[in-house]
Structures are given as structure tokens and as C-alpha cells.
Symmetry: C2
């Protein structure tokens, strides 16, 4: 059954708002910020066939579309506040919209944030645009530019399962059913590390979320901070499923995988134990995987003390791939 644009907004996405002064249904949403805080804003556009497969369950897609945006707030150490949603799709179908809205709004509720505005329109493929807003005290946001020589490099969770799932979908490798479901969940249902981002305020010197792959995203931090990095191959956290794949697949997935939505952050070595205890407080596993070195040394991954050859591995780029 086809729904009109305004019916659609009202039926699936309009909710009473508590924190926002005015939500969906006027020309603008109005938001109250906590006095003295800065506004943190991030935006992501997900396109069918590029960022998600048409096989994904709508509920998971709704979850992921918001999760990747919350992940950006997490990387800034910002506290989520509200978000807007733009949807472009060939048809407005209830069987898609209802579970999509459920997945989206369940994650929103889990983080205490509200959908405050949106736009729905026709279009040849499904496109989901989300802009998320959060707040952070002035000077406390985690930036990419704060890494200093001697800082330790950390990542949360484990890396590479999303890429492994993508390769299994593509038929490049095969996985047992249960293993496939587990890595598929990593790809389709990432957990944005919002609580960790907040816990790292004042502890981490720099942070970024891992969306385009470890080497590429770490590269952004290194360029912004004017430093180099040495990563220990053995220390990179991987799931038991990824850990039994070939060395080549492990490298591809761990170093350039993308879509992990874990946090990569740096912190002075003196904060080592406090980082561990803060991460434990928010029930998020973190692993120290290397250290920041001088810019001249570039980006090196060592295995048994020798530098890995990183040629042929490159970060994902939407217009180069």
C-alpha cells in the first residue's frame, strides 16, 4: 500500500518529544542546548548497494543508519541530543517502513535521543541521510589532531568482522552458518561507542571512529596530528572467527576492513590504567595496539618485530574503489 508523504512522516516517525522544544511537523525543529555546551554535528548518507546490501533486514538497517552517525558523536566525546532523517526511496511501503522505524527508534531510545525533523521523497534507490546533533563542553571534544609522540594507540571491541561478512556475502570466502550470522551481525548491527567516547573525555588525546578501515582512519589522525604510528599486528583485536582465517584475509579485514564503528583513540601512556578502568566502567573492551611515533617514521605495522609490507592494502574510498 502506497502512503502519502505526510501520512508516512506522521505514522512511523512522529513521536512526542520531551527534550526538544518542537519536533517533527513544523518547518524547523527547535532544540534547547544545555547552557555553556557546544553543539557537535555530524552527517552521513547511506546509499543502497554502496553502504548496505538490499538483503539487509529493514530493522537492522534502521539501527545501522543511526548507529554510524552516533559513532561520529562518540568519536568526538559528545553526548547525543537529537537527529534528523531524510529518506529517498522508490516506494513508500509499510512492510519496509514499519520495521525500519522500529530499528531506528529503538536505538534512538537506547541513547535517549529524539527524531526532530525529516524529509521523505521518491528516488530510484533507497538513500538514508541522517544528521545527528550532540553537545560537549567547550575544549573537551576529542579531536583527530591531538595525538602526541609517545601516546599509546587504542581500539575498542574487535576489528574486521564486518569486512569478513561482506566478503562472505560476495562469495570470496565461505563461513559456517553460525559464524556467518555472527559476523553478519557485526556488519549490520554495529554498537556505537557513545559511552566510551564520554568516558574518554580528559583521558584520550585524539579519537576517530573506524568506518573506512584501520589504516585509512589512523592515517587521518596522523595527518591531523603531524605524527607517525607503530602498530603491533599481534595486538590487533580480532574475533575467534576472523582469527582462524588465512593471514591474507586477516590483514585485509583488520587493516583495511571498514564498517567496524569501533573507536580508535590515543592517550598518554601515563593514562594507561585509567583508560582500562574507565572502559571497564562502561563495559567496553579496549586494547592497546601500538604507539604514536615521530612523523618521519610514517605508519608501520610490525609482526614479530619486522615491518609488514602494506603495499596493495589501501583504505576504502567511495570514488576510487
Amino acid at each position: 500500500m502506497a502512503l502519502g508523504e505526510f501520512d508516512l512522516i506522521a505514522r512511523y516517525f512522529k513521536r512526542p518529544v520531551a527534550r526538544a522544544a518542537l519536533g517533527v511537523g513544523d518547518d524547523c525543529a527547535l532544540l534547547r542546548l544545555t547552557p555553556g555546551q557546544q553543539l557537535a554535528v555530524s552527517t552521513d548518507l547511506l546509499v543502497e548497494g554502496r553502504h548496505f546490501l538490499s538483503t539487509v533486514a529493514p530493522e537492522r538497517l534502521g539501527h545501522k543508519a543511526l548507529a554510524v552517525n552516533l559513532s561520529d558523536l562518540a568519536a568526538a566525546g559528545a553526548s547525543p541530543l537529537a537527529f534528523t532523517l531524510s529518506l529517498s526511496m522508490p516506494r513508500a511501503e509499510e512492510r519496509f517502513l514499519e520495521p525500519f522505524a522500529q530499528g531506528l527508534l529503538a536505538l534512538a531510545e537506547a541513547h535517549g535521543i529524539e527524531l526532530v525533523g525529516g524529509d521523505t521523497t521518491g528516488g530510484p534507490v533507497l538513500c538514508i541521510g541522517i544528521t545527528v546533533m550532540g553537545e560537549v563542553p567547550p575544549g573537551q571534544a576529542l579531536l583527530r589532531s591531538g595525538a602526541r609522540v609517545g601516546d599509546e594507540i587504542w581500539v575498542s571491541g574487535s576489528l574486521g568482522d564486518a569486512r569478513l561478512a561482506l566478503e562472505a556475502f560476495r562469495g570470496s570466502l565461505s563461513l559456517p552458518g553460525e559464524a556467518f550470522e555472527q559476523v553478519r551481525r557485526a556488519m549490520e548491527c554495529p554498537s556505537p561507542r557513545v559511552a566510551l567516547g564520554l568516558a574518554l573525555r580528559g583521558l584520550a588525546s585524539a579519537a576517530i571512529d573506524l568506518s573506512d578501515g584501520l589504516l585509512g582512519d589512523l592515517g587521518h589522525v596522523l595527518r591531523a596530528s603531524g605524527v607517525g604510528a607503530e602498530l603491533a599486528w599481534e595486538a590487533l583485536p580480532r574475533s575467534a572467527i576472523l582469527g582462524v582465517q588465512s593471514e591474507a584475509w586477516q590483514r585485509a579485514c583488520l587493516l583495511t576492513g571498514g564498517d567496524d564503528y569501533e573507536l580508535l583513540f590515543t592517550a598518554p601512556a601515563a593514562h594507561h590504567h585509567q583508560v582500562l578502568s574507565s572502559a571497564t566502567m562502561v563495559q567496553t573492551p579496549v586494547h592497546c595496539v601500538g604507539q604514536i611515533v615521530a612523523a618521519e617514521r610514517g605508519l608501520v605495522v610490525t609482526q614479530n618485530g619486522a615491518a609488514l609490507d602494506l603495499q596493495g592494502l589501501s583504505a576504502f574510498d567511495h570514488f576510487k574503489s
Copy 2:
């Protein structure tokens, strides 16, 4: 020449930011709000073939993509602050991106606002998602819900030229070359009425921007306010070009045209002269086109004192058309 995603952001869209604490190039942008103000947020997604024709000049498209968002802030009486941009497109081409960015950033500069974040990605057709942020003192935003019986109904500028241009593009009617260029400019280069929106704070009782056509958008105000309206056909402002078209085309363009991005607002009759003088101060023509009546009377358009038959005219809906 194909550009990588990060080159593209840096080359065309990265600008030094003044007002924002941190602009394009980190996980989030950080913005300082004026203390005590509320944040106003609006988002719009423009899809090729739906919201614009592939024949539009990239510079005009850049202008329009931001203009339609600023128009939402204008309708709320909010002062523009910053915006984010998401672009999905088949190829990253300089011959498109350079003029597109020029048109977009020229309008941004004219309104003193900054591009603070974005996302670029591949996709089958050009999609442009913009989220615009502004600020407004608590309680002063213009809402759709404030119209009261006896209020006068006003519109800015003139209506219907964008629809006339669309029909000329479709071949439904033909226009002399110069006339075509003029209405085409109305369709492709709307002027968001930001200054008027600010001038109407404290004067207007309700406001909306005319994006989906007069009847449809006025209908939103009437529903939100729980009132009816009587419009005078003769009073609806139209260009000399539209004024010489057939009665049927005039009705279609003026009443359901869409894409005008003028403001429709209501104000107590006692504010009549102050509305006129405030509009003159910001050099924006406004016309009183009717009045708010009791909800039971619905929405009526009168011509020579008799109600027009509005059957067969309906507001544009992206999923019903």
C-alpha cells in the same frame, strides 16, 4: 578526472571557519550558539529527476539546494548559523563540483553561514542532502500553529512562476524566450526570505514556506492552528508572465504550484501597517491575500465574491504524484 572522496571534500568544500569552533574534517563539527538561544534545525533531500532537472546549471543547483533549506529557517524566523552537506553521485567530476560548490558557498556567504560538515559517496543519481542550523530566542520562533480567527494571511513575492517554468520544460505550454528565462530563474534560483522571517518575529502569528504549493502548505497551517481560511483569488500576487496565461494555468500555478520558496504567514489585522513597513525595511514585497476564519468554513478561495471550485487541484506529494 575522478577525485577521491577526501580530495574532493578538501578541494571544493573545505573553508576556514570563523564562527564554528571546528569545521569540515573531523568526526563532528563543533558550533558555538549564542547563549540563551534555541537551536533551529531543518533538513531537505533533493533527488535528480524529482526535485531538479538534469539540465540545471550546477551553480544554480548549488544555490537552490541551500536556498530551500534556508527557506525553512526563514519560515521559523530563525537566524542561520551553519549547514552540513551530503552528496551522493555517480562520478565525482570537477566540471560539476566546482560550479556547484561556487553556487552553494556564494549563497552561504551571502547569509553569513558556514559549511561545517559533510559526506560524499557514490550512488546511481545525484542526491543532495542539506541540514541547516540556526538560532532563535526561546518563544520567538514562528510556528505553523499560531494562526487565529481574524488574522490576515500574507504571502511574500509572487507565486507560481516555478511551476510555469516546469510546465514549459515539460512542453505543456510555450513561452517567449525572455519570459522563459525569467520563470526558469524563479524555479532554479529562489531567494530564501530569511530577512523577512527575522523581521516578522513578534509580528506574525504563524508562518510556513511555500514549497509544496499554496493550498497544501496553507492547509498545514490551518490543521496545526485549528482554523480555516478565505483567500481572495484576485489578491494572489503573480508575475506579468503568469498573469497573461489562461485561467486554468494560473489556477494550477498559483494554488498548487510548488517550489516558490516564498513565505506564507498570518498576522493580527492590527499589525497590518507594521507588517508592510517591516517588509519594506528588508526590501521584500508582501501581499495580504485573505484572512483566517473558523475551522468549520474550511479553505475557500473566492473570485468576485464566489467560491472557486477547488476539485481537481491537489497539493504535490512525492509518493502520490
